[in-house]
């Protein structure tokens, strides 16, 4: 395959450096953590490993705002006009806001920005995880011109969430669509964002480490 077909714009090969490296991030998956990179850890949970079967974990570190989002994502293409189902076994512990499996019918970044953006969030469907392992599915219709969709696991606020046995497939139109979304209180997130911006605006924060140490 000519990878340029996948690179729909010059920003395609943009690389962001992730700092939280304590857990192994499986190839093909991308962590979209909070702005500091320290509030969440994500990767394969060695404590959940079984022979031939790995579990993805997102966990909050320290005490986070109930509006922060930590996610592990993978964007895939080629599903225009299809009904698509993402399924996995999921499980959560101590999640104070929302944790679960997510699927968007477009390219969506599952980070703090989306928490304050109702338009983006309207395209991020999700099914919450419970206390015990359970298979859940998120089903969405991809628009006929939809060139990218976003799959992932997300944790809003504090806690832990796991996923394993991830599977993506095309289903028939008899399969009911998911109507629930990733659990973010948009008005509250927006209000917090404005508070944060006002607080930032009141304090000069120059660029750091100009000495390159």
């Amino acid at each position: 395959m000519d990878f340029r077909a996948l690179l729909a714009a010059p920003l395609a090969a943009l690389v962001m450096t992730s700092s939280a490296a304590e857990l192994r991030m499986p190839q093909g998956w991308t962590a979209a953590l909070d702005p500091s990179g320290n509030a969440y850890q994500a990767g394969v949970d060695p404590g959940m490993d079984e022979p031939g079967r790995h579990s993805l974990l997102i966990q909050s570190v320290g005490s986070r705002s109930v509006l922060d989002i930590g996610a592990v994502m993978q964007m895939v293409f080629g599903y225009a006009g299809k009904r698509v189902r993402l399924s996995a076994q999921v499980k959560a512990a101590g999640a104070d806001t929302w944790a679960g499996l997510v699927l968007s019918d477009k390219m969506a970044f599952l980070n703090q920005f989306s928490a304050s953006d109702a338009d983006t969030l309207a395209h991020v469907f999700g099914v919450a995880a419970g206390a015990d392992w359970k298979t859940v599915s998120v089903v969405v219709d991809v628009p006929s011109d939809g060139w990218m969709i976003t799959t992932g696991l997300a944790l809003v606020g504090n806690g832990k969430v796991w996923a394993r046995d991830l599977k993506l497939d095309i289903v028939g139109t008899d399969m009911p669509l998911t109507t629930s979304h990733m659990g973010v209180d948009v008005p509250r997130a927006l209000a917090q964002l404005h508070e944060q911006e006002a607080a930032q605006a009141a304090h000069e924060k120059p660029p750091q480490n100009l000495e390159l140490r």
Binding site: G28, V76, M107
Partner: protein, 237 residues
Amino acid sequence: MDYRVFFAAPLAALVMSVSATESILPAPWTAMRAGIPASSGPVDWAKGPPPAYDIGVDPAAEEQGQRSLSIKSLVKLDPGYANFAVAQQSAQGYAGKRLRFSAQVRSEGVSTWAGLFMDDGPKGGALNVVAAGLEGGEHTLPPSGAAAQAPNGTWQDVSVVVQVPATVNSVTLGLALVGEGKVWARKLHFEVVGPEVPLTDTRMLGFDWAKARDERVRNEKMMSLMRPSPLTNSSLD
């Protein structure tokens, strides 16, 4: 780093991957690169395309303890794309202020543009909007930029001065390379200056918004027609 700097615009065609680079970029500096190699063989998509740029602190360029930030193109790049790379970070709380970002820079073999930049656009979105061909790009100016124009390999004092609008909280600044070549910066300095200091009236050059938009639209169309791609590594190996 405020990720909204990246995500304020609906980045139409961004594929992220986390990969090690040759050089180390110390926190809180962030690398952003968009380089399409001129020719490509089969690519392991799980690994992504080969790296087009190296971004970081260049140990070879350290002189008497003076470190320098560097960006280097690694391969021949496809001139049909707005190839660029930056090492950047943001500053907050300077609404209404005039800011100067300065450094010593040097460059080698730059095909399009290299130098310091500072973007006072709301949430630093201008670079993304213009380079990615996003809607509104025709009305969006690239970041203010001061080019490294000295002959190859000569250190040169460069500064970029912007007036931050009263409503803008965050500015983005850094070192940029558009196209191929190498650029270094050292003795970085950031300060608030008085209104008597002239504003930089040059921009980070080398972006053709209309071309980038046409590419984006064409490629989105092409991708919407492609066969379904399965999840990569669903077994989490």
